[in-house]
């Protein structure tokens, strides 16, 4: 990776760490260990199910919230505080700045998710006393959650490049919700007719698709995830984030910094 991108990425990571973003891990740990202890005492059969469901859902939600709230400020905060002036007057191209910011936030989220994953497996070990083969699928679910983070990061960055933080948060969060139900949206589009069908289909393919990235409940039941789905989901997340980043670059490239 180009040195300037790496530099901006590591600074973004450092900012997140110093702004105490990773403190969410404490809340996560409390939540998970509380749940593990509680479930372990109440019900015997579904304790694993609950730990996986709750753990992975928390990993996903905590990450999404961080991705949105840090992501929306990535560009707009630098413009507002005019820290961008001293960066862009250096040999830093504007697209390098966007890409660097993206990697910085993505890196933060990966580290965050990694710590949480250790917590989930710890809780799993606590309630089940040993790992079984289907637990490996939990790793796939975590991988999908990280793919989801990449998409949300890129979208937050896209909105951050042209809109105020509050609006960006609203946009990014709405897209997260819509994306969670994207499969319903596409089904709806398929059932519609005429003009509505075309518009609905276009929208359904434009919004991010998180349905296929959410395999938490099936993994909690020990169901396998097909390797094809892993490949296509990876490809999808890659293409979609790249698209959003290109959008962000296109907007930011022309933006006057007042």
């Amino acid at each position: 990776m180009n040195n300037r991108i790496a530099c901006i990425a590591s600074n973004t990571f450092r900012e997140a760490v110093r702004d105490r973003v990773l403190y969410n891990l404490i809340a996560f740990a409390v939540l998970l260990s509380g749940a593990a202890i509680l479930v372990g005492q109440i019900s015997i059969d579904i304790e694993k199910l609950v730990v996986i469901n709750l753990g992975l859902t928390a990993v996903s939600l905590f990450g999404v919230v961080i991705a949105i709230f840090v992501g929306i400020g990535l560009v707009s905060k630098e413009i507002e505080k005019r820290t961008l002036y001293t960066v862009l007057s250096r040999p830093v191209r504007r697209w390098e700045f966007i890409i660097g910011k993206f990697f910085g936030l993505a890196g933060t989220l990966v580290v965050n998710a990694f710590c949480m994953a250790i917590g989930v497996f710890g809780a799993l070990l606590y309630v089940a006393h040993k790992f079984q083969k289907p637990d490996g699928w939990v790793l796939v679910a975590l991988y999908f959650i990280i793919l989801q983070f990449l998409i949300i990061c890129s979208l937050a960055l896209l909105f951050s490049s042209f809109s105020s933080p509050l609006l960006s948060a609203v946009f990014a969060f709405s897209l997260f919700v819509i994306g969670t139900f994207s499969e319903d949206l596409r089904n709806f589009a398929a059932m519609a007719q005429g003009m509505t069908k075309w518009v609905a289909t276009a929208v359904a393919y434009l919004v991010p698709n998180f349905s296929a990235l959410n395999v938490i409940s099936s993994v909690a039941h020990g169901q396998p995830v097909s390797s094809q789905l892993i490949i296509f989901n990876s490809l999808y997340a890659l293409l979609y984030s790249m698209m959003a980043l290109c959008g962000a670059i296109l907007i930011f490239q022309r933006r006057n910094l007042k």
Binding site: K81, Y85, T86, R90, V92
Partner: protein, 313 residues
């Protein structure tokens, strides 16, 4: 080759939310800055100084016109490695320490390794902050931030340094130091382009200045040349409570405070007043030229330019 070459730079903003109206922030600006000079870019607040600087830095895109720095295009990264920029009232990542910030900027400008840490230490010394390298910027005062800002602008030893209001937020000692620093930069063969609304700074430092008002270039040249036509004033203080009649007759305003008299007179009648005081054997305590701030300078300049429509521009 000019250090900076500005050819017909224009910036029009649209203002208003629904019905956008064009607002001209900068009329066609033509300006050349030579290598190795300290060039002052003068004008009252809102004159278009910062807009011009932002366009030169590639932060804002000109509506029309073009500019070259060191003979190269504005978004040429190779050129950008050779310039430094201090924005107006700079603000930096306050979660970083001064050293971390400078290392970050250094890397972005392509300085690396041992060279980098050595330069960071020396530049911090140069701006008078040798002992606070490890302190987070959120604990810095406004003046200290200004110094850090200057440090980051000269860290990578640029050929051209752009400083937007470099003296603001500094105490008199700090201003003195910044002036010295700018003179050092000139001595090192660097070009310094700085904006200010305080003429005294420009008078003390600049080889040449450009004066801009309401987005229009009003004058370019050496400070002395520009202000030669402007009536300066002198403040004279002497002991005693006596005001010689000859001084009264030239229309000076005199204030008697305690056992001294203070009079403000036009520069041209300065000798006359001194002669009168000598004759009366009164002891002169001080004789200070009253600084013509840029605002005052403009009041006269504008009056005159209205009379002799545009003869100065």
């Amino acid at each position: 080759m000019h250090a900076i070459e500005i050819v017909g730079l224009v910036k029009v903003y649209s203002v208003g939310f629904w019905r956008k109206r064009p607002k001209c922030a900068l009329h066609p600006l033509h300006l050349n800055v030579e290598e190795g000079e300290i060039f002052g870019f003068l004008g009252p607040n809102g004159a278009g100084k910062t807009t011009t600087l932002k366009m030169l830095m590639g932060l804002v895109f000109p509506t029309s016109g073009s500019a070259r720095i060191l003979g190269r295009d504005l978004n040429d990264p190779g050129m950008k490695a050779q310039i430094g920029f201090l924005p107006e009232q700079p603000y930096f990542y306050d979660y970083l320490t001064a050293r971390e910030l400078l290392e970050y900027y250094g890397r972005l400008s392509g300085v690396a390794g041992k060279d980098l840490s050595a330069r960071v230490q020396s530049v911090l010394g140069r701006v008078g902050l040798p002992d606070v390298a490890g302190v987070q910027l959120r604990k810095f005062s406004k003046g200290m931030l200004q110094r850090v800002g200057i440090a980051q602008a000269i860290l990578h030893e640029p050929k051209v340094v752009f400083l937007d209001e470099p003296m603001s937020g500094l105490d008199p000692m700090g201003r003195r130091e910044v002036r010295d620093l700018m003179e050092q930069l000139k001595a090192e063969g660097k070009t310094v382009f700085f904006s200010t609304h305080i003429l005294s700074d420009a008078e003390a430092l600049c080889d040449r200045v450009a004066v801009i008002h309401l987005g229009e270039l009003r004058a370019v040249g050496a400070v002395a040349d520009l202000t030669s036509g402007v009536q300066g004033k002198v403040e004279i203080v002497w002991e005693g409570t006596v005001v010689p009649t000859s001084i009264k007759t030239i229309g000076a305003t005199c204030h008697v405070t305690g056992d001294t008299v203070r009079a403000v007179v036009a520069e041209e009648s300065q000798d006359l007043v001194i002669d009168a005081l000598r004759r009366e054997r009164l002891r002169i305590v001080s004789l200070v030229p009253v600084r013509t701030t840029l605002e005052q300078y403009f009041v006269e300049k504008l009056k005159r330019s209205e009379k002799t429509a545009g003869s100065l521009a």
